[in-house]
């Protein structure tokens, strides 16, 4: 297996994109402040919801903070890896430079989804992890091995689902050329992930677990943290993640058949 080759290529990708991003140092500071403000803002919003209520959808404020923490981590991952790469697909297709990607002797999906990295997202991930540790303390969660493995499994499944969602939408660019706004739609839907699923009405809950599995992305990992989760939910999340990964791969290969370069 040429895993080693891919690792080597990835190292090169990391090096070049870090070098180019670090040229804009003030930008990184601005992004850090943005991440902090955005977290403060959503905690502020949450505190408005809890102003006169002890529970929202069966969640206490301290418990709902876990969702915020996980959302922040996942958002950081999105900003570090998914957003910079997958918005690049749009550019590749519009300008016809996808030809060069397809001609390279490595997997096109790998190339397209790992070429770039945005280091300012790291700060957001760290911010989320800090908040998560804080939540573990205030909710008095016991750390043990089975809990840690379960939470790691669910979070990695969330990352896979998130990646597949982004990749799906970006792939549709091959037909529609400009999908910037489809990405915006996805972003605004993902915003729901900041709140416990149970705080929405029944019909929206169905929508967000069947059509766009946002429920799986943040609520299930948070339930694992609180020890509320049941086995079938975790298994379901693993299944959904696998199905999403496989179909997004299939969809990409299918879409490539329709790629006809620019001006041809």
């Amino acid at each position: 297996m040429n895993l080693r080759k891919y690792l080597k290529v990835y190292k090169k990708f990391l090096h070049t994109s870090l070098a180019s991003e670090l040229e804009y140092k003030t930008n990184i500071i601005v992004d850090l402040i943005t991440a902090i403000l955005s977290l403060v803002g959503s905690i502020f919003l949450l505190s408005i919801f809890f102003q006169n209520n002890g529970y929202i959808g069966g969640w206490k404020f301290e418990q709902a903070l876990i969702i915020q923490a996980i959302y922040t981590i996942l958002n950081g991952i999105t900003n570090t890896w998914f957003n910079p790469n997958l918005t690049e697909i749009v550019k590749h297709i519009r300008e016809g430079t996808l030809d060069f990607v397809l001609l390279k002797p490595i997997d096109s999906q790998f190339f397209i989804s790992s070429k770039k990295i945005n280091p300012s997202g790291f700060l957001e991930i760290m911010l989320g992890i800090l908040l998560l540790f804080f939540c573990i303390r205030i909710n008095q969660i016991n750390l043990n091995l089975s809990f840690l493995t379960l939470s790691l499994i669910t979070i990695s499944c969330s990352i896979c689902i998130l990646y597949s969602l982004w990749f799906f939408i970006s792939t549709t660019t091959i037909w529609f050329v400009k999908t910037w706004n489809a990405i915006e739609v996805l972003r605004s839907f993902l915003y729901i992930g900041r709140f416990p699923l149970n705080s929405f009405s029944f019909s929206l809950r169905i929508f967000f677990s069947v059509f766009i599995p946002i429920a799986f992305i943040t609520t299930i990992p948070s339930e694992v943290f609180l020890g509320l989760s049941v086995l079938w939910k975790i298994l379901l999340e693993v299944m959904v993640a696998t199905v999403f990964l496989i179909t997004s791969r299939k969809f990409w290969l299918f879409a490539l058949k329709f790629y006809s370069s620019a001006s041809s």
């Binding site: 804009y24 003030t26 930008n27 601005v30 992004d31 402040i33 943005t34 403000l37 955005s38 803002g41 959503s42 502020f44 919003l45 505190s47 408005i48 919801f49 102003q51 006169n52 209520n53 929202i56 959808g57 529609f176 400009k178 910037w180 706004n181 489809a182 915006e184 739609v185 972003r187 605004s188 915003y191 729901i192 709140f195 705080s199 929405f200 009405s201 929206l204």
Partner: protein, 264 residues
């Protein structure tokens, strides 16, 4: 004579940009959909009976969020992103030679986009009314005109703020990250996610001095028939425009002196 010329210019610009925008109908439809976050928020508010604590009935709250959606639809500004791209690509140079401030071009772009967006926003409102027939209302003509005016003023304030940020492109290459930073307080304080009345007292004491509540909360309250201080709202909006406009003129004239075209 001069005013005639300006009129003709503006008319031509609008016509060109409108036909340009019509090409991207799907995009704009998607963009309209991406603005539906207020409806999700409404769902959290009513589903958890949070509105009882702030003394707003379900019907008035749903009207509020519908109006917030509308105001947001017609005050979205993205000039900094267009300007950044144009200035990095060097497209600004030919615009600068023309006897017309390039920002007129962007302004016309925004207006044309709003006209294109209007039917989609109406469709979304229509769907909303199907699900919430009890919240249908017809504002009287005076209120309607006033709220259209205040929405336009809100758009102007945001356009001016972003144009000022866009001019920073003359100094730094990435002004859009500053816009992302400023977007966070706009998102949380403007009333898009929660009406300003629901904010805790320590925020309400200073928020009315900032431009944020006049961007969405004030026009939305006005249109939806919620309680609001009309004369204060309008005069604060106008005051902010008068404060921001000279700043924009100043930074524009400084910036164009600083501008060096690509490759010179």
């Amino acid at each position: 004579m001069i005013s005639n010329l300006i009129n003709r210019k503006i008319f031509t610009l609008l016509k060109v940009q409108y036909s340009n925008m019509l090409e991207y109908r799907v995009e704009i439809a998607l963009w309209a959909i991406s603005g539906i976050i207020p409806f999700f928020m409404l769902n959290i508010w009513t589903n958890n009976n949070l509105n009882e604590s702030i003394n707003i009935s379900d019907v008035l709250l749903s009207r509020y969020f519908l109006c917030a959606f509308f105001v947001r639809q017609f005050s979205v500004v993205w000039v900094v992103f267009s300007f950044e791209e144009d200035s990095l690509m060097g497209k600004i140079s030919p615009y600068l030679i023309q006897p017309l401030n390039p920002f007129f071009r962007y302004f016309a772009q925004h207006l044309a986009e709003q006209i294109t967006r209007f039917p989609f926003a109406l469709i979304i409102a229509f769907v909303f009314f199907i699900f919430n027939p009890e919240s249908i209302w017809i504002p009287n003509l005076g209120i309607l005109i006033l709220s259209i005016l205040s929405t336009f003023l809100s758009f102007l304030i945001q356009f001016l703020i972003q144009s000022i940020l866009a001019c920073l492109c003359f100094w730094t290459e990435r002004a859009s990250s500053i816009e992302r930073l400023l977007f966070i307080p706009t998102l949380f304080l403007s009333g898009l996610l929660a009406p300003v009345v629901s904010f805790p007292a320590y925020v309400k004491s200073w928020i009315y001095l900032t431009p944020f509540p006049y961007l969405i909360d004030f026009p939305a309250n006005l249109l939806s028939g919620n309680e609001t201080n009309i004369s204060r709202g309008l005069s604060m909006q106008i005051l902010w425009i008068f404060l921001l406009f000279p700043l924009f003129k100043k930074i524009w004239s400084e910036g164009t002196k600083k501008y060096t075209a690509m490759g010179s």
